[in-house]
């Protein structure tokens, strides 16, 4: 436990001094500032207004940026550390491999999650100061969704980092994974699949397996309990899961997926060459 804590703290310390972290923090902070500046809280679009309107937009933007950022920065820094000789030195110290791997994952999770959540709660505090009503239930559920999404892609990122021997290959693989999941969002490839006449069960299974789509539908469900925006697929989701069931799926499925990939990555890491 001590080694795990030390490794997590070391990784946090390394990350906080990285250029990617500064860019990453500026992006999420900048998104929230831009949303306020653009007067989004005062606008009414599809029935959403105030802080709810801002949060739903923030989450949609987060869905596009967060996975890519998490994947790219994780694989670049982990594979990059290996290339630069950091693993060679740090793993010559008597730290257990499990503490090293999981400590790194936890440290990285903290660093990845911190700017996202700070930006979100920054928006909440700002909204409060401005006298906007705070939808607390949505805020907490969104926080849980973000935890789940960040953990999911962190797990996938750690898995890719253990597979790829160079940071260039790792970055390429991370980008392809992100692109693949993006293509299977309902708007793009799912639409094409429906047009091609694939069985609805298959389409919905694909949508339910894609963590990006799960996050998207889950966040939509909070503001649109009948999932009118989603069209006919909403019947299948609501009939099979119910509202609460799907919200639980949105939180626990990406968590489980991320944990599975991280565990797979750990097994490969433990058995292979370390530096």
């Amino acid at each position: 436990m001590k080694h795990l804590k030390l490794t997590a703290l070391a990784d946090i310390s390394e990350s906080l001094r990285s250029r990617w972290f500064i860019v990453y923090t500026l992006v999420f902070g900048g998104v929230v500032v831009a949303l306020f500046v653009s007067g989004l809280t005062e606008s009414r679009v599809m029935g959403f207004t105030g802080l709810s309107r801002l949060l739903v937009t923030y989450l949609q933007i987060t869905m596009a940026i967060l996975p890519l950022f998490v994947l790219i920065t994780t694989v670049r820094s982990v594979a990059g550390d290996r290339e630069a000789g950091i693993f060679e030195y740090m793993l010559s110290l008597p730290v257990s491999l499990s503490s090293w791997f999981w400590g790194k994952l936890l440290g990285r999770f903290f660093v990845v999650f911190l700017p996202v959540i700070l930006a979100m709660f920054g928006a909440v505090i700002w909204g409060r100061l401005k006298g906007v009503e705070i939808p607390w239930a949505q805020v907490w559920l969104y926080t849980a969704f973000l935890v789940s999404l960040a953990w999911c892609f962190l797990g996938i990122g750690m898995f890719l980092s253990t597979l790829a021997r160079s940071s260039d290959v790792a970055t390429g693989a991370a980008f392809i994974v992100w692109l693949f999941l993006l293509l299977f969002l309902d708007l793009i490839l799912l639409g094409a699949l429906i047009r091609e006449g694939l069985p609805p069960d298959t389409i919905i299974a694909i949508a339910l397996a894609n963590p990006l789509q799960v996050f998207r539908t889950g966040s939509m469900l909070l503001f649109d309990p009948q999932l009118v925006l989603l069209g006919p697929a909403a019947y299948v989701i609501l009939d099979n899961f119910g509202e609460k069931g799907y919200l639980a799926w949105t939180i626990f499925y990406p968590l489980a997926l991320g944990t599975f990939f991280a565990w797979l990555g750990y097994r490969i890491f433990r058995r292979g060459d370390l530096p």
Binding site: E14, R17, E88, S92, P94, P275
Partner: protein, 288 residues
């Protein structure tokens, strides 16, 4: 029983066989120079020893496989790499991390760093990668020597140290020499010759020479030196000042001290100025 045992150790990267059946035993008190050209397999062998690479055959330190029993084994191994890792964490945190995972006292590492001339108080908040090459090397040496290790694995350890720090470093090694085994890797034997009592040379993944050598040079010995020139030279002055020498007779003579194990290296430096040198006097005294 030997402390380190390599038995038929092989390592392959895809199609390339980097280690081709290494058999080697190292006992406590052995100070082994692991020499060979680039690509000979030295780094791979060290990584197998540290349990960082999986390999064929058997690697054991005191009968234990470093991969399977890594925390127990590596607690007693101090490693100094040739190239310092580009860590961004502050120096203080690196010391805390190393002392924490080694169950050691950070104070001892700080004390060794101080002996090497590195005052950690002033730099503890600085990122490690912002230190100079020599400072990084001193810190890594302090982490390796500031704990109870029984095996020191050093990859060109003194390459970035100034002569004074080298002398102190040799003294620190001397304190450990009877209790610990040392594996000192270098691509040049003259860099490490006076530190070792055994030379193992590798070439293309095999051991091609394994020989014991006389170790009559005391690690703590010092050579009082006087150099006489045919004429003063600014280039020469700059070089010997780095070794702590002082001018005499308007720059026609220079006097200073050279660490005993550094004699070959020092003579190598002087060879560049052979035409300028009229006289070289070296006299050894124990413990400076």
């Amino acid at each position: 029983m030997a402390m380190i045992q390599f038995q038929q150790v092989t390592k392959r990267f895809r199609r390339q066989e980097v280690l081709k059946g290494i058999d080697l035993e190292v006992a406590r008190g052995d100070r082994v120079a692991l020499v060979g050209s680039n690509g000979a397999g030295k780094t791979t062998l060290i990584r197998c020893l540290l349990g960082e690479y999986t390999c064929g055959g058997t690697v054991a330190i005191d009968g234990r496989a470093p991969r399977r029993h890594r925390t127990e084994v590596l607690k007693r191994v101090g490693f100094v790499p040739q190239i310092a890792p580009p860590l961004k964490m502050p120096v203080g945190q690196l010391i805390r991390f190393a002392a924490g995972v080694c169950d050691s006292d950070a104070g001892r590492m700080i004390e060794v760093a101080g002996r090497l001339g590195l005052e950690l108080k002033a730099i503890r908040r600085q990122p490690f990668n912002k230190l100079s090459g020599g400072m990084k090397q001193k810190l890594l040496i302090a982490i390796a020597l500031g704990r109870d290790c029984e095996l020191l694995v050093l990859d060109e350890p003194a390459a970035n140290l100034d002569p004074e720090a080298r002398h102190i470093f040799f003294g620190l090694l001397a304190e450990k020499k009877d209790r610990a085994a040392m594996l000192i890797s270098s691509h040049r034997l003259d860099e490490v010759a006076s530190l070792v009592n055994r030379v193992v040379e590798m070439d293309q993944g095999r051991i091609v020479l394994d020989d014991h050598v006389a170790d009559d040079v005391a690690m703590t010995s010092v050579l009082h030196s006087r150099l006489e020139l045919v004429r003063p030279s600014e280039a020469f002055a700059q070089t010997v000042r780095q070794w702590g020498f002082e001018a005499r007779e308007d720059g026609l003579a220079w006097e200073g001290k050279v660490a005993g194990p550094d004699r070959l290296r020092f003579l190598g430096v002087l060879s560049r100025y052979a035409a300028l040198l009229k006289g070289i006097h070296l006299e050894e005294t124990a413990d400076g």
